[in-house]
């Protein structure tokens, strides 16, 4: 996944061959629709669950860790509350927080990465500060903040967003560098078009591929981190129902009523895997729309069977983690004749 997005970064700014319906193509691919099939039920449960829950999630309806029965289809939790109702009730906040944190992180990261690449004078300032940020063990930092200030929703959101920012900024910076090199950006700049407008009309439309994929990857991370925080007791507080919290609360009763743990785990797994698959499909669909999809696979002596000599700009496919810095881009910016 990470290296797929690196390919994508390499491909950004390249002319696209196919139409613009990137998402439509993604939905049609197997990975895309399997992903959607996994995500959709979880999202529906999170949204509609509280409405259809048979009991109040805080209501005591059976003996602790009672097994499943007609009354309580998924049994009872460690305090004797209905697991089904708690599962139906416990996803909404998790998804809202994850979504908010991802949006904030991707927006801020994209803005910073884009500016760093577009305005070389700010590059070192922005990127070195983010490097320092990345050097801290961020999850520990988030835990520290949350344990001092207390587990507030806004703070969870902020802490998770802060974890995303440096990584998103790196990927987007690399993607933007490839676009900024293109002559249409130089042309727009030479016409005196305002920088803000150039970013909005020339740059952003051409980095949407990496931004979309990055959003997907970050969303899965957000869900994981927020569920982990809840598991550690730094998310929503009892007696609120929450999937992460439920796993922690009920793990001692795994033998008596496994449903109390298995159900929330399965839902978190389904949405994470689903989002990942769909993101993968989007990334592939963006790649298919660019020349980077057709990398020659002939032996290395013949790796250049390119018919049209310099009519098409060369591109690099970068293997390795998406967070790698792209030396080649930085250097080629000092393009000589």
């Amino acid at each position: 996944m990470a290296s797929l997005n690196a390919d994508l970064v390499a491909a950004s700014g390249q002319p696209r061959k196919a139409g613009r319906s990137v998402v439509a193509r993604a939905v049609r691919s197997p990975r895309g629709w399997i992903g959607i099939l996994l995500v959709l039920p979880v999202v529906l449960i999170a949204i509609l669950g509280p409405v259809v829950a048979p009991y109040d999630p805080a209501e005591f309806v059976a003996a602790p860790f009672a097994g499943s029965s007609g009354e309580v289809p998924l049994g009872a939790d460690f305090l004797g509350r209905d697991v089904l109702s708690r599962v139906l009730d416990g996803g909404r906040m998790l998804l809202i927080l994850a979504f908010a944190a991802t949006t904030a992180g991707v927006l801020i990261g994209t803005a910073l990465g884009m500016v760093a690449a577009y305005q070389p004078s700010t590059d070192d300032g922005i990127m070195r500060v983010l490097d320092v940020g990345m050097a801290f063990p961020q999850l520990l930092l988030a835990l520290l903040l949350l344990s001092i200030v207390g587990p507030k929703a806004w703070l969870i959101c902020l802490a998770v967003a802060a974890i995303h920012v440096p990584q998103v900024a790196r990927v987007i910076r690399a993607a933007t560098l490839r676009v900024v090199e293109q002559d249409y950006v130089k042309f727009a700049s030479s016409l005196g078009i305002a920088h803000r407008k150039i970013l909005a009309t020339e740059v952003i439309p051409n980095i949407m591929g990496p931004v979309m994929v990055e959003s997907g990857i970050r969303l899965t991370y957000s869900i994981g981190i927020i569920a982990s925080l809840a598991f550690l007791g730094l998310g929503l507080q009892p007696p609120t129902a929450d999937w992460g919290l439920m796993i922690n609360e009920n793990r001692i009763g795994m033998a008596q009523n496994p449903w109390a743990v298995v159900a929330p785990v399965a839902l978190i797994a389904a949405i994470t895997v689903g989002v990942n698959l769909f993101t993968d499909a989007v990334a592939q669909s963006v790649l298919d729309g660019t020349d980077a999809g057709g990398v020659d696979d002939v032996p290395e002596m013949m790796s250049r069977g390119v018919e049209e000599m310099s009519a098409e700009p060369s591109f690099y496919v970068i293997d390795g983690p998406a967070g790698e810095d792209f030396m080649s881009s930085a250097e080629s910016r000092k393009a000589t004749e």
Binding site: P15, Q182, Y184, D297, R304, E307
Partner: protein
């Protein structure tokens, strides 16, 4: 089968010129998914010691054919039929494993860009040695070293021992390409396939490499298939030539016959489009563009562009027509093709003293490294100046300084007496509009997310905020009309256009702003010659109609008489010769001009 392959490794290589090195019959390559033919039944023989040119424009299938002769097909393509016989080995019948042994030993390949074929982290000694050990050379390490050194000498590399200790990046482009050729011949193959090996080189380096190729063919008795889009190179190098069009053979014969008495209208058209320094004829482009793979098979692929087309041409594919025993053309009207002598390019000479654009004492640098030294240049209004030089001579940098795209310089640039700020952004709106820069690569000059019409309208709205949206639309239409782009194309996105169309859109975008100076930076160098000629025709027309002043940057000296009144020759960041085209090309005085003129391949 594989026994025979192995036996070739042990038998001493001897010069057997004239023996058949390659015999390909009805080779077909198709797109695996759709079955569209990329190469459609091409036959070709190459004898040992012979150089056969494989010519054609981009997309004609020449590279695909070249690869298929080694049994390879690019991803997404499939070898669909025919046979290839390489010194008794039937390539298409080999397993993948046997194929790998054959390629590199019986047949080898020289790619366009040797840098991509060389490992930058390995010394050349190891890489050349691997070519031998990897293909079953049964000799001691001393013998291998001897063979490698000999190959390096054969490709005329100075100080082979030093070269062996070097890494690829320590060599010049021409030297790297000769390493590529040395690797190809180190196993003494019967056939070497070279795919545009000199396309990225300057003319002097190109001539050197071509000389080496000629020598290797004659001395080592190896057959060479030389793939190129450049007919002038073919003319200088090849014994015979096969011209391809739309995946099929168009004309095959002895080079002089094909180039002097072409029998296929496409070849005749191509020759009209190639700029030639000697004849200085005016260029004539071929309208339209090449067919995509998958065109209906039961017709001549050239019929839509052919001035001689008859009904029969669109009903069946033309069979080979034998003009002589060695000369064949795949055309119903072969024999009727008349080569029109093109009139000599004649440009009204304008000897104006005043200057519209003046560059004075310009020294430009990249990160403190000075690449232009104290350059003076003046362009009279309504004239066209060609700026020629090899890569690295600073011609593009000078153009970029004038266009306001490169601001790291000292000295002054004046437009009609007004000083210009180095930064385009700091120039006035009308100054910015007056100088329009057209980029070499139209692919990257157009925003891929924007339709053609919008690409032209956006800068116009920026530069002329006073125009109403109706006026903008009118100007966009008229700009498109000027460059002969049909309104239907206006709604397309750049990836849906051909290379020539893209470049014409870029020109339209500049013209819509009604500039007084047009700076063209190698704008035809990425295009096929038939398309290049169309663009040159267009620029000539523009100059005749309006009093457009032009700075035309090019590495191709042959193009200069067609496009410019005055020429400035650059070398190492300075203008070394400047004057009217006739005088500079007729009686060159600077060493660099003589050098360029001497090495340029001629038809």
């Amino acid at each position: 089968m594989s026994n025979r392959v192995v036996s070739r490794f042990t038998s001493p290589s001897s010069v057997r010129n004239g023996e058949l090195a390659l015999s390909a019959r009805d080779v077909m390559v198709e797109v695996a998914e759709t079955g569209a033919r990329v190469v459609d039944g091409v036959s070709l023989d190459v004898k040992r010691g012979e150089i056969v040119g494989l010519a054609g424009e981009s997309g004609c299938g020449k590279s695909t054919l070249a690869l298929s002769l080694m049994g390879f097909a690019r991803r997404g393509l499939r070898l669909a039929g025919g046979s290839v016989d390489l010194g008794g080995v039937s390539i298409f019948d080999l397993s993948e494993r046997e194929l790998l042994r054959v390629s590199g030993s019986k047949v080898s390949y020289v790619p366009q860009d040797p840098v991509t074929a060389l490992n930058p982290a390995m010394k050349l000694r190891v890489q050349l040695d691997e070519m031998l050990t990897g293909h079953g050379f049964e000799g001691s390490s001393a013998e291998r070293r001897e063979r490698v050194l000999q190959s390096l000498k054969e490709v005329d590399l100075p100080d082979p021992k030093r070269i062996l200790r070097s890494y690829p990046h320590q060599l010049s482009g021409g030297q790297q390409q000769r390493i590529g050729i040395a690797m190809a011949i180190v196993n003494r193959p019967d056939l070497v396939i070279m795919d545009e090996p000199t396309t990225g080189l300057d003319v002097s380096a190109q001539e050197h490499v071509l000389g080496t190729v000629r020598e290797i063919a004659a001395r080592n008795g190896v057959g060479i298939l030389y793939v190129t889009h450049d007919l002038a190179v073919i003319s200088e190098l090849a014994d015979r030539v096969l011209v391809m069009y739309g995946g099929r053979a168009a004309e095959l014969g002895v080079t002089a016959d094909v180039l002097r008495q072409p029998q296929h209208p496409y070849v005749a058209g191509l020759l009209n489009a190639v700029p030639d320094l000697e004849k200085r004829h005016s260029l004539l482009g071929i309208p339209g563009h090449a067919p995509e793979p998958g065109a209906p098979p039961a017709r001549c692929h050239y019929v839509d562009r052919c001035p001689l087309a008859i009904d029969r041409c669109s009903q069946e594919a033309p069979p080979a027509h034998s003009v002589s025993t060695t000369h064949r053309a795949w055309c119903f009207r072969a024999g009727e093709v008349i080569v029109v002598e093109r009139p000599v390019a004649n440009r009204p000479h304008q000897g104006q003293d005043q200057s519209l654009l003046t560059v004075c004492g310009l020294s430009a640098s990249y990160s403190k490294k000075e690449v232009l030294h104290n350059v003076d240049l003046s362009i009279a209004p309504g004239t066209s100046v060609a700026l020629v030089g090899e890569s690295g001579s600073g011609k593009t940098t000078l153009a970029r300084c004038i266009g306001g795209l490169h601001a790291e310089f000292t000295g002054t640039i004046e437009l009609a007496g007004e000083g210009l700020d180095p930064h385009a952004r700091k120039r006035t709106q009308s100054q910015r509009r007056s100088i329009q820069y057209i980029f070499q690569n139209a692919y990257s000059a157009l925003n891929p997310r924007r339709a053609v019409r919008e690409s032209i309208a956006t800068p116009l709205r920026q530069a002329r905020p006073e125009l109403s949206s109706g006026e903008v639309a009118d100007r966009v239409e008229s700009a498109l009309e000027t460059v002969s782009i049909s309104p239907a194309v206006g709604v397309r996105h750049p990836h849906q256009l051909s290379g020539g169309q893209r470049q014409r859109v870029a020109i339209a975008r500049a013209l819509a702003l009604e500039p007084s100076v047009l700076v063209c930076d190698e704008i035809t160098s990425a295009l096929d010659v038939s398309v290049q000629a169309v663009i040159v025709e267009l620029l000539q027309e523009l100059q005749a109609k309006s009093s457009l002043t032009m700075l035309f940057v090019t590495h191709n000296l042959a193009l200069v008489p067609n496009i410019a009144d005055t020429v400035a020759v650059m070398s190492d960041g300075a203008i070394v010769e400047y004057g009217p085209v006739d005088i500079v090309l007729g009686q060159p005085s600077a060493a660099q001009t003589k050098n360029l003129l001497q090495h340029i391949p001629r038809l």
